[in-house]
């Protein structure tokens, strides 16, 4: 089984990387883009029966820094 975990910066946390990407997109001439936020996708291949609470624990203990980031778990 595969689970995808999306880690994103919390609202209000400055994202210099997203800003730089936005700037580069504008430089390519795509002027309709209003904002860009960059995050991280982590794919986990696992046995059936890995619980949501285990996945959440992985996120809070390691995959996301809860001071600045949120996570979303997408089970396939």
């Amino acid at each position: 089984m595969k689970t995808r975990i999306f880690v994103t910066l919390k609202n209000g946390v400055l994202d210099p990387q997203g800003k730089a990407i936005h700037h580069a997109i504008e430089g390519l001439g795509f002027s309709a883009v209003q904002d860009v936020r960059a995050g991280r996708l982590i794919e986990i291949q696992h046995e059936q029966g890995l619980s949501t609470s285990d996945l959440e624990a992985m996120c809070t203990k390691l995959l996301a820094n809860m001071v600045i980031e949120n996570f979303e778990i997408e089970q396939a």
């Binding site: 400055l14 210099p16 600045i68």
Partner: protein, 221 residues
């Protein structure tokens, strides 16, 4: 006095830190590999050096903070042993939960590598008693992720409790309230982005970092 410098895969200021501690304080200083679950007995100082532990994978300091040795460092910090984290060491201490906040990508995106002016905000701690309040010292920085972030309640609390040890005298990396170094509540854990071990003798171009180590000797003696 005995000191340990923790070595992670990707640490690169470990030897500089050993030399600074040994030469300035006259302390027996051991390098301790991160896989070690137990620290040497009777330590008076633990230093987490700068570098790029685990290649900064996931987040700077995130992997190192979960290394076996960090449980022992957290326990020692709880017993009051002074713990100094410099640069990547500061990132590791925040990731390990020993210090509040997080160190994010520099606001200007660029890696910043130069000597900066710092203001000493609290000269009462074990690490800063070699300085005077409000004094300016020059210490080099070299980092990509030094942009200190914490929510405004946490920042107010840190400032109110005198836990901001050093502040940048200028905007270096976008850090909240120009914070360059913070203390834990008990005052025995300091994390700072600037490298005091790189400014300890005349050949370095100054000795602004030297008094941090001299102050530690006075604290522990």
């Amino acid at each position: 006095m005995r000191a340990a410098v923790i070595q992670f895969p990707g640490s690169n200021c470990d030897r500089d830190m050993v030399v600074a501690i040994r030469d300035i304080t006259g302390t027996e200083t051991k390098l301790v590999w991160h896989r070690t679950a137990e620290l040497p007995d009777g330590l008076d100082l633990i230093a987490i050096p700068g570098g790029f532990s685990y290649g900064d994978y996931l987040r700077s300091g995130a992997m190192a903070a979960r290394s076996p040795v960090m449980q022992a460092v957290i326990a020692a910090a709880g017993r009051g042993v002074p713990v100094l984290g410099v640069c990547n060491g500061f990132q590791i201490l925040t990731e390990a939960g020993l210090l509040p906040g997080a160190l994010m990508r520099n606001a200007g995106i660029r890696f910043v590598c130069r000597t900066v002016a710092l203001t000493v905000e609290n000269s009462q701690s074990a690490f800063t008693r070699g300085y005077t309040d409000g004094e300016q010292v020059r210490i080099p920085v070299a980092h990509h992720d030094g942009n200190y972030f914490a929510d405004s309640d946490t920042l107010d609390r840190l400032e109110g409790d005198g836990r901001v040890a050093f502040r940048y005298a200028e905007n270096v990396n976008g850090s909240a309230r120009n914070i360059a170094g913070v203390l834990n509540a008990a005052g025995n854990v300091l994390g700072m982005m600037p490298h005091p071990e790189r400014m300890t003798e005349a050949v370095h171009g100054g000795s602004g970092g030297r008094r941090l180590f001299e102050g530690l000797v006075r604290q522990i003696a």
